[in-house]
């Protein structure tokens, strides 16, 4: 396997990690106004992703950075071509990020309600647009002989692109609902479970239609297998959610997202950014990649640092693995009730 192929696979891995991790925190943001009946509940919901959402987002930065360094032509064409779409995503991610920080800084229901609406919008918009982006990349976008995008923002909003957007939106919401079933207690947990089964009613048919259409037009034998496995994992996740097997349900939606990304990248191969104008204008793994020496240096950096990053991110999830309940949320700006139990986030609560 040459290094360009290695980096193509690594970028697919980074997108999988991004969708699996940020997928559930988008879902929590989308469900925030529907599941949280009062402010304490909404704070429980935000705090389930509080320590991890920003780490999850780093997977996107790494995917973008890896594309920039390993496939500069792909990066240039895609980021220039999707300029306004990426601006929308970036603005949504900026707003969403400050919402988490600002919402509890002023003790006023109106102040918090405004930031909560922004958390919803800032989570729903990127969740939709990532699907739109990938559902345009796989069939190809209009690129001229210089690999320059000749469409506009509306070119991306075709029916297949929008279907892809609805798939990521519903899948991330389902993934988030199942995550909340794992991380909350009592009534909130029951509501999260109900939300998961309801969201599954939309996510399962949408994803099945999208995968079928994708495989009919762009499929190959190998990706037919991953697409079928993605569908099986999703149906399994929905069944597990219905039976209250939260751990299995979360494993199922995580696997669905990994297999869906594998399917889309497999369908792309050997292209990275195909042209719908002419196949000759497509960017491929070979004509878009960096020089060999760059890829060698990058590969060493990735081999050394990826395990370190995975280890500390895994550790942060382990530290914050406890379920959260209303009693964990004390009054703002003052220390919580004294006691060894509240001092230790991994302590004996269950």
């Amino acid at each position: 396997m040459d290094l360009a192929t290695f980096w193509f696979i690594l970028i697919a891995v980074l997108w999988s990690g991004y969708f699996v991790l940020e997928g559930f925190d988008f879902g929590v943001g989308i469900l925030l106004p529907f599941l949280g009946r009062d402010d304490t509940e909404r704070r429980v919901l935000v705090n389930t992703i509080g320590p991890v959402w920003d780490g999850n987002e780093v997977w996107l930065l790494t995917a973008g950075g890896a594309t920039f360094a390993a496939f500069p032509l792909w990066y240039a064409s895609m980021f220039s071509g999707f300029y306004l779409a990426l601006l929308l995503i970036l603005a949504a991610l900026i707003v969403r990020g400050v919402c988490f920080e600002f919402r509890s800084k002023v003790d006023s229901p109106r102040w918090r309600a405004s930031w909560d609406r922004a958390i919803f919008a800032g989570s729903a918009l990127p969740a939709l647009l990532w699907g739109v982006a990938f559902a345009n990349i796989v069939p190809g976008v209009p690129l001229n002989a210089h690999h320059v995008y000749t469409g506009n923002l509306l070119t991306l909003l075709n029916w297949y692109g929008l279907l892809g957007g609805l798939v990521t939106l519903s899948l991330f919401t389902l993934h988030g609902a199942i995550f909340l079933g794992l991380r909350t207690t009592g009534e909130l947990r029951q509501r999260a479970k109900k939300a998961a089964t309801r969201t599954a009613l939309a996510a399962v048919p949408l994803a099945a239609i999208f995968l079928a259409v994708t495989q009919v037009s762009h499929g190959k034998p190998a990706t037919d297998v991953t697409a079928a496995l993605a569908a099986v994992a999703l149906i399994g996740a929905a069944a597990a959610a219905l039976r209250g097997r939260e751990g299995w349900a979360f494993t199922g939606t995580a696997l669905t997202l990994v297999l869906a990304v594998a399917t889309l990248f497999g369908d792309l191969w050997p292209n990275v950014f195909p042209s719908s104008t002419s196949a000759a204008y497509s960017l491929t793994v070979n004509n878009a990649s960096s020089a060999h020496y760059t890829l060698v240096v990058m590969s060493w950096v990735a081999v050394i640092f990826t395990p370190v990053v995975l280890a500390y991110q895994g550790w942060s999830y382990w530290v914050f693995r406890q379920r959260l309940s209303r009693s964990d949320i004390g009054p703002q700006q003052t220390p919580p009730v004294t006691g060894p139990d509240t001092m230790e986030p991994v302590g004996g609560r269950s």
Binding site: G50, Y83, L84, K105
Partner: protein, 75 residues
């Protein structure tokens, strides 16, 4: 400004390094969006900072042995 007209001195001019396919109107839109967004965030952050300073230090923090709030529940 002082390095104009070069982006990479002696090798690449600013005119040469402009992205192909990105229109001037797109750049105006993004510049406007980012300027307004960050101006708004700066105003809110400034207001919160002033408010926080005026509130003064919390009394609880002065008690020896009082537990620190857990970072996990800060939101």
């Amino acid at each position: 400004m002082g390095r104009q007209p070069w982006t990479v001195f002696g090798l690449l001019t600013t005119a040469q390094s402009v992205s192909a396919g990105v229109t001037a109107s797109s750049v105006i839109i993004s510049l406007t969006v980012f300027t307004l967004l960050y101006a708004g965030l700066a105003a809110i952050a400034g207001w919160l900072t002033v408010r926080h300073v005026k509130e003064g230090a919390p009394v609880e923090a002065e008690q020896p042995g009082a537990p620190e709030p857990l970072p996990v529940f800060q939101y």
